[in-house]
């Protein structure tokens, strides 16, 4: 690895609400080796150029979750992002605060909504007094049971997922990827006795606002894969409660709908998702669609290769050995 330096241009978001009239970008130029962490660059700016730059940081080794920010539009940890790759791809390094959290100063954001959602899922073991923990020894748990947590124990609560989440932006009542991944962690914990109660609460609690864009999984620096765990939660919620929300009814309706002919029957799907009354509400839109594309209202033909589709459904309906 070379220790030769390259010129690096940082464009850093600066804003202090109540003091500055509007945010601005300030440019700093440093010579750094290509694998210098962005955080190191920012700290050199603080130490050598401008001590007023506001940011959070602590461990500098991707474990405390303090330094999440947007680096060339991606929410990630400044400590484990290297300047060389950013400069090679983007020419310079644009640094902005995380999204979905109000700016306190420069790159420091107010994480209250993020923590509020975390606390709402009741992130602690719930125990049944009739089933006490084994006295004086650890609860038995096999490696296979530990596997069921998947990567959720790696979460460092950096909020990069929350920043990247369009559902959290659109609807602040959405718990967000981190809180839901945490909920999954408790829902699969063999020590927790409130699994059903947790799942009953979460289905009307915003679970189906997740649109499976997987931006959280892309943003997560610890490979927690929140969107995949949210999919697992959706399955688990339907399993304990059936489809009670528009989102879950849509998902179940979609599956049943396709089973018949291998093509969607759009009319049936709308009814499955919204119910008959809901359909009436969408009458105006239905008429507009019918005018443009009348074939959509027809019952679709059966596709060729239905036998293949049946095999897929058979596989789907076989219970998994290790549930999610």
């Amino acid at each position: 690895m070379s220790a030769e330096t390259i010129p690096v241009e940082f464009a850093v978001y600066r804003f202090q609400p109540g003091k500055d009239t509007a945010p601005r970008f300030q440019t700093y130029k440093l010579d750094l080796t290509p694998h210098t962490p962005v955080l190191t660059g920012l700290l050199r700016i603080r130490d050598e150029v401008d001590p007023s730059l506001g940011l959070r940081y602590s461990c500098r080794s991707a474990i405390c979750g303090s330094c999440a920010m947007r680096i060339n539009e991606k929410s990630r940890l400044a400590c484990e992002t290297q300047v060389g790759a950013e400069v090679a791809r983007h020419g310079r390094i644009v640094i902005e605060p995380m999204r979905n959290q109000a700016v306190i100063r420069d790159l420091v954001v107010d994480q209250t909504p993020f923590w509020r959602e975390y606390h709402k899922i009741e992130p602690h073991l719930k125990l049944d007094p009739r089933r006490p923990m084994p006295e004086g020894k650890a609860t038995p748990m096999t490696p296979a049971q530990v596997e069921r947590f998947k990567e959720t124990p790696r979460c460092i609560a950096c909020a990069a997922c929350y920043s990247a989440c369009p559902a959290a932006e659109a609807d602040p009542s959405f718990p967000g990827p981190m809180a839901l991944a945490k909920l999954y962690r408790f829902a699969v914990d063999p020590r927790d006795t409130a699994r059903t109660e947790r799942l009953l609460k979460i289905q009307p609690g915003g679970l189906w606002l997740c649109m499976r864009c997987h931006l959280c999984t892309e943003a997560c620096p610890k490979d927690v894969r929140p969107s995949e765990r949210i999919c697992d939660l959706k399955e688990m919620a339907i399993a304990v409660q059936g489809a009670t929300e528009m989102g879950s009814r849509h998902a179940v309706g979609f599956k049943e709908n396709l089973k018949d002919r291998g093509q969607l029957n759009e009319m049936k799907l709308v009814r499955a998702t919204s119910g008959f009354a809901g359909m009436l509400g969408q009458l105006g839109q239905g008429i507009r669609i019918y005018r443009k594309k009348p074939e959509i209202m027809k019952k679709p033909r059966k596709i060729e290769g239905m036998d293949e589709l049946e095999k897929i459904y058979a596989a789907l309906d076989t219970p998994k050995k290790e549930g999610p």
């Binding site: 130490d47 001590p51 080794s61 073991l125 490696p143 124990p153």
Partner: protein, 560 residues
Amino acid sequence: MLRHEVVVVGAGLAGQRAALAAVEAGRNVAVVTKLHPLRSHSGAAQGGINAAIGVNDSVDAHTFDTVKGSDYLGDQDAIEYFCREAGPTVIEMEHFGTIFTRSEDGTLAQRPFGGAGFPRTVYAADRTGLALLQGLWERLGDEKFTLYEEWELARIVVREGRLQGIVALDRRSGEFQEVASKAVVIATGGAGRIYGRTTNAHSCTGDGMAVAYQAGAFLKDMEFVQFHPTALLEGGILVTEGARGEGGILKNAVGERFMSKYAPKVLELASRDVVARAIMTEILQGRGYSGPYGPSVHLELMHLGKEKIESRLQEICDLCRSFAGIDPVTQPIPIAPAQHYMMGGVGTNIPGETNIPGLYAAGEAACVSIHGANRLGGNSLMETLVFGKAAGAAAAAYAAKAPETTLTQGDLDPVVAKYRAWFARKDGEEPSVLRSEVQQTMDRYVNIFRTAADLEEGLKRVRAIKERFSRVRVTDQSKVFNLNLSDAIEVEHILDLAEVIIVGAIARTESRGAHFRTDFPKRDDPQWMKHTLARLTPSGPELSYSKVAFTRWEPKERVY
């Protein structure tokens, strides 16, 4: 004025455990922390937590290993208490919800660690600190207490011979706040940022140790600074001892597994001080690798196989790949020692009491002492919990009986006046400049191998920087999240602590554990089997000494 019965400063494992104990005792508790609790540096601990719960292991064996590891400077009564409590403590953490790595039979898995006669280290892959921090925060978060998040400790107020409360800076508003409290538990962790090359987080600036020292508390055994043998060259990032526990080996530039020369019986799993000195000796004698980021030796994991490396040492894999551009599955990891842990700290007894009534300390900020001259890997996580709980309970019991505090607005004034002067100064020194100079001084003169000449030079330089600190200047004039002010507060702390470390190291003319004097290479029990105590006087630190507690283990020569 804010008022509580018990205030815990620091929200890592020790602070949270202290807070939980005080809440359970029915006290009105507040936790003051400069980070969110889940961002505390406890979360960076990787390898594991020691408890003698294995079938063939015993509390006595753990006690002996810890006594020996301490180079006989640890207090044996405290170590016995610690090792007895370790088993129930790890089980309690499991019951709180911590997700540990398991053996096939469903029990807690344990891995070998340095200086231990048994595989005694319970772990959660290589993120044990994070697992414990999550488990404890989940448990504590369910209780009622007040959290003052992103508040920085500025002053401990002692009057009428007892504790009255604290003054802290609320970073978010920029206001200084008084918190009246009958009891305060210092749990602010270590002070690695006294050094430039350290495994510690940027936040580890010894705030609690320094502020307690300024308030009249004794700092104990501060000259004993642990250097972790294996840190990445890039930024001193920690590579867990678990890497060697899982079978990782060390090689020098001539391909020799050199630990056979220094610890023929246990090789890479000798005590940390022994391994760190061995690595430095290889480097100093010209058998290290050289490169743009400094000299190194190699830590090899390749022979362990991809599956084991990626499951048991998952975080290490990621750290090596993202920070050093190295894949430990196929390549050796260049490493060198880095400052890691302060064996010393605010002097306490087993329940965490200091010499100031109402002031308690626990965790790395405290010195009980169970680590003596050298801490064993896996003992610090356990220390935070065992002694955090003890200190929290003792502080709660004290607060239940203590008279009302007499904190007044006047206690805030000297603090505010001091910081106003920093803001008002038009010329003067930036705190970051002073910080980098003290760090360079400590790296160069107060490292693994020490001599009187180096230490004297280091002291001269640190005192010169302290003198310059009297003209420190905060240029950022904003109140909100003013890190320039935080820098200045922290630099004042590390300067005080650096001075105490060096003064203690100069006085101690022997080699014991992590304190190695090349001019006095032998342990000197008749003269130096004693704890160093440092107290602040107008002319600087004043040293005195106290006895080491012995119970059952006579000092012996320490061979691995």
